[in-house]
Structure formats: structure tokens, C-alpha cells
């Protein structure tokens, strides 16, 4: 599904990712962990096509296509979806207005008001969120947990194939995290897709068990393991795990 080779990325001439490699196959869940400032969120932004980040070298293939030649809209229409750490609020734009245009754009067909309402109502019921969310402004006056649930609502409507979760667990209380994790797991189990989870903690990984856990340091993956690696990191910290594990050549 996704092949990242020797990717070097800079922001304002500062190198953030350096010869970064990662392969994610269909129906796999990968977790990326690392200290603050090691480039975890950068990889999400680059995959989504944020032009603040300059790709200096390397390649990204998505289902065999050159992702770097696609603009952000095209990437989204091809099924890539980002839930960012702090989903932004857009003044005056309602979820329903945005989602109808987005849905028609992603699916490439027209939905009449009744079809669209049915989809929205079904998603709200599935996520156990009030139907008033449909007509609320995008993330307007929402708490951290509500924003993440709102983004999850968008996800269920748009049905992406490759999901980037950039610290979806930050700013979310444990009850909401359980709801969000359960919903993501259900989505993964019922759709053909892959997930890349950026996180600092194992809470979310307890619920959405990854196939691979990678440790990012100094702009590249320095260690790859399974869920046990995440548990070691939680227990010992990143420096502690360096002492008890050796780098594996996952790539």
C-alpha cells in the first residue's frame, strides 16, 4: 500500500526526516513512537501533502502511484485521511456543508439530501454522538475529545483506505479515548484499510493493537518491533529501550 524510500524532508532549510524508510501493507497497523521533535508529525503532514514541508529527496509510492506528484486533494480522493493532533476550527462552516461536498468529491457521485442525511444519521448512531454534531461548525467550540470524535465522524462518512492518526490520544480523557479506539478498531475490522498511529502512549495501542511499532529518532526509524516494544518504551522510556534492544533491520 505505502512504500517510503530514503525520504529526506526539511522545513525552513532544517532537515526533519533523514533517509526515512517505511513500508506499510494493506490491512496492517503501524505505530510510530519517539521523543518530541523527532519528526513524527512531519511524516503525517508530508503524506498528506502539506507544502510547508519540502521533500529534499526520496520517494513515496501509494498503491504503486507516485504520491509526491499528487496534491492534497488528490491524495484525499485516493483514500488518504489525516486526523491531526489539534484539528482546526473553521468559523461558520458546518460539518454537513463540508461533508456533503467532500463525500461527493471522494466518491465521485452526487448524493441527494435524503441519501446524505441517512449516511450522517447512521454514522452518528454508530459513534453514539448527538445528531446536532451534523449541523455544528467544524470543530467550533468543541473540547479536545469532541474534536477527535468529530474527525472520526468525517472518517466514517468518507471511508478512507489509509488513515494517519497524529496523536489522536492527546487531549482526550480515558472515556472518550475508549470510544474513539473502539470505533477505529471497528472501522479497521470492517474496511480494507491500513493505519499509521503516531503516539507517545500505549493506551491507544492496547485497543488498536499494531502489527509493528517503530521508534523514530533523529529523523529516521532506529528500531522496529511489535507491541512489546511499545510496552517497554512506556515502562523504561526511549533511552531505557535503547539499552535492552538492538536495532532491527525492518526496512
Amino acid at each position: 500500500m505505502l512504500e517510503i524510500k530514503n525520504l529526506t524532508v526539511s522545513v525552513d532549510k532544517k532537515i526533519i526526516l533523514k533517509d526515512f524508510n517505511l513500508n506499510i501493507k494493506n490491512n496492517e497497523i503501524h505505530a510510530l513512537m519517539g521523543l518530541n521533535g523527532t519528526g513524527k508529525s512531519t511524516i503525517c503532514k508530508v503524506l498528506m501533502g502539506d507544502d510547508t514541508y519540502k521533500v529534499e529527496k526520496g520517494s513515496i509510492l501509494y498503491n504503486g502511484k507516485d504520491l509526491l506528484n499528487m496534491d492534497t486533494t488528490t491524495r484525499a480522493r485516493n483514500g488518504i485521511y489525516l486526523v491531526s493532533q489539534n484539528p482546526i476550527e473553521i468559523e461558520g462552516v458546518k460539518n454537513s456543508e463540508m461533508l456533503k461536498i467532500a463525500l461527493e468529491s471522494v466518491k465521485g457521485k452526487h448524493y441527494d439530501v435524503f441519501e446524505f442525511s441517512k449516511i450522517m444519521n447512521n454514522v452518528c448512531e454508530k459513534l453514539n454522538i448527538p445528531k446536532s454534531f451534523i449541523h455544528r461548525g467544524i470543530n467550533e467550540s468543541m473540547s479536545g475529545g469532541e474534536r477527535k470524535k468529530n474527525e472520526l465522524m468525517h472518517l466514517w462518512v468518507l471511508e478512507p483506505f489509509f488513515i494517519l492518526l497524529d496523536e489522536i490520544d492527546s487531549g482526550v480523557d480515558i472515556d472518550n479515548l475508549n470510544i474513539i479506539s473502539k470505533s477505529l478498531k471497528e472501522y479497521f475490522d470492517t474496511h480494507s484499510c491500513s493505519i499509521l498511529i503516531i503516539t507517545h502512549h500505549t493506551n491507544i495501542l492496547d485497543k488498536i493493537r499494531p502489527n509493528y511499532v517503530h521508534v523514530l529518532n533523529d529523523g529516521k526509524i532506529v528500531e522496529t518491533g511489535d507491541y512489546k516494544l511499545a510496552q517497554d518504551i512506556e515502562k523504561l522510556g526511549f533511552n531505557g529501550t535503547n539499552n535492552v534492544r538492538k536495532k532491527k533491520d525492518y526496512e
Binding site: V93, A102, S105, V106
Partner: protein, 198 residues
């Protein structure tokens, strides 16, 4: 509360003796003097897509409230002069102006006067203009305060279409054209400013 709809050229003196909501849609010219009497409230909702020249003078006495929600989309010349006088005590005045200046010239002047020896008044001037396609914008959110007992805030900003907003909408599969339209429509809040629009 009285509801009044104005959709023609207007030159008038309005004396507010009942709480009222006034909708003004697409006027070319407006020269209006408003007096809000003691204990009365006036809300004006206005949406405009024509070039225009506006002069509004508001005089408020004791325990009154005036809210002015004005949005516009202009490709030409747009001039708005608002003159506020808080003459009594315990009154509130909130001016909210959102505009999209699409390659034209916008001049927005708000003069808020809080007169000498008045007490416990509140004055807010909030002006946000989105300037696109090389237009020119001038905003003057003036406040002339002649008393120490007042709450007064003013803000003015001229921005482009927010790049982060556009990226967010692109990341949902929406192209730049539809994204910009959504952002502008949301910013102008048109549906809430037109009578029966919501």
C-alpha cells in the same frame, strides 16, 4: 420584538421605542440616524453584495443595547462610516463587521464615542476583512473615550484566505475552489444575516 426588513435605498431617522430587529439586505445607499431610547434594544443584521456608501449614526441613552452584525462581499468600492455616541449610562454597543474585499476598495471607519461623565457602558468594535485578489482595505476602529468608567475593546484584521483552513478542506478531498467558497460563506455567515435565511 419588532422585525423590520429594509431592502431599498434608505435615508431615514429611526427612533427606537420598542426592542427591534432590523434586517437590511443589499441596499446601495444608507444614510440613517438611529436613536435608541432608555431601556430599549436594537439588533441590525445586514448582508450586502453591492458596492455602496453607508453612513450610520447611532445615539444611545440609558440602559440600551445595540448590536450591529454586518457582512459584505464586494468586488468594487465599499465605504462604511459608523458613528456611535453613548450618551447615557449602562449601555452596550457591539459592532461586528465581516467583509470579503474581492479586488475592490474597502474603507471601514468606526468612531465610537463614550461621552464625558457617563458610567458603566460597554463598547466593542470587531472588524475582520478578508482581502483577496489584490484589493485594498483601510480600517479605522476608532474609540474616543471621555470617561474612566467604561469597558471598551476594538480589533481589526485584514487577512487572506487562511492557508491552514484550505489545507484542512483539501485533506477531506475538497479542491481549492470549493474550499475557498466554503471558507468565505462561513466567514460571512450570510444565512444568519438574511431574514428567513436560516
Amino acid at each position: 420584538m419588532n422585525k423590520i426588513l429594509l431592502d431599498n435605498e434608505l435615508i431615514a431617522n429611526l427612533n427606537i421605542e420598542e426592542d427591534s430587529i432590523l434586517y437590511i439586505n443589499n441596499n446601495d445607499t444608507l444614510n440613517i440616524n438611529i436613536t435608541i431610547n432608555d431601556n430599549k434594544k436594537l439588533i441590525i443584521h445586514e448582508y450586502n453584495e453591492r458596492s455602496k456608501k453607508y453612513n450610520i449614526k447611532i445615539k444611545q441613552y440609558n440602559n440600551t443595547e445595540f448590536v450591529y452584525n454586518h457582512s459584505y462581499l464586494s468586488k468594487d468600492s465599499y465605504e462604511l462610516n459608523i458613528d456611535i455616541k453613548l450618551c447615557g449610562n449602562c449601555s452596550k454597543n457591539k459592532i461586528n463587521i465581516h467583509g470579503v474585499n474581492d479586488g475592490g476598495n474597502s474603507n471601514i471607519y468606526v468612531n465610537g464615542n463614550v461621552l464625558k461623565d457617563t458610567e458603566d457602558n460597554e463598547l466593542y468594535e470587531n472588524i475582520k476583512i478578508m482581502n483577496i485578489n489584490g484589493g485594498k482595505v483601510e480600517i479605522r476602529p476608532n474609540m474616543f473615550i471621555d470617561t474612566k468608567n467604561v469597558i471598551a475593546n476594538h480589533s481589526a484584521s485584514v487577512t487572506n484566505i487562511d492557508k491552514d483552513y484550505l489545507f484542512y478542506l483539501n485533506s477531506k478531498g475538497i479542491d481549492n475552489e470549493d474550499g475557498a467558497k466554503l471558507i468565505i460563506d462561513g466567514f460571512l455567515n450570510k444565512k444568519n444575516l438574511i431574514e428567513g435565511g436560516e
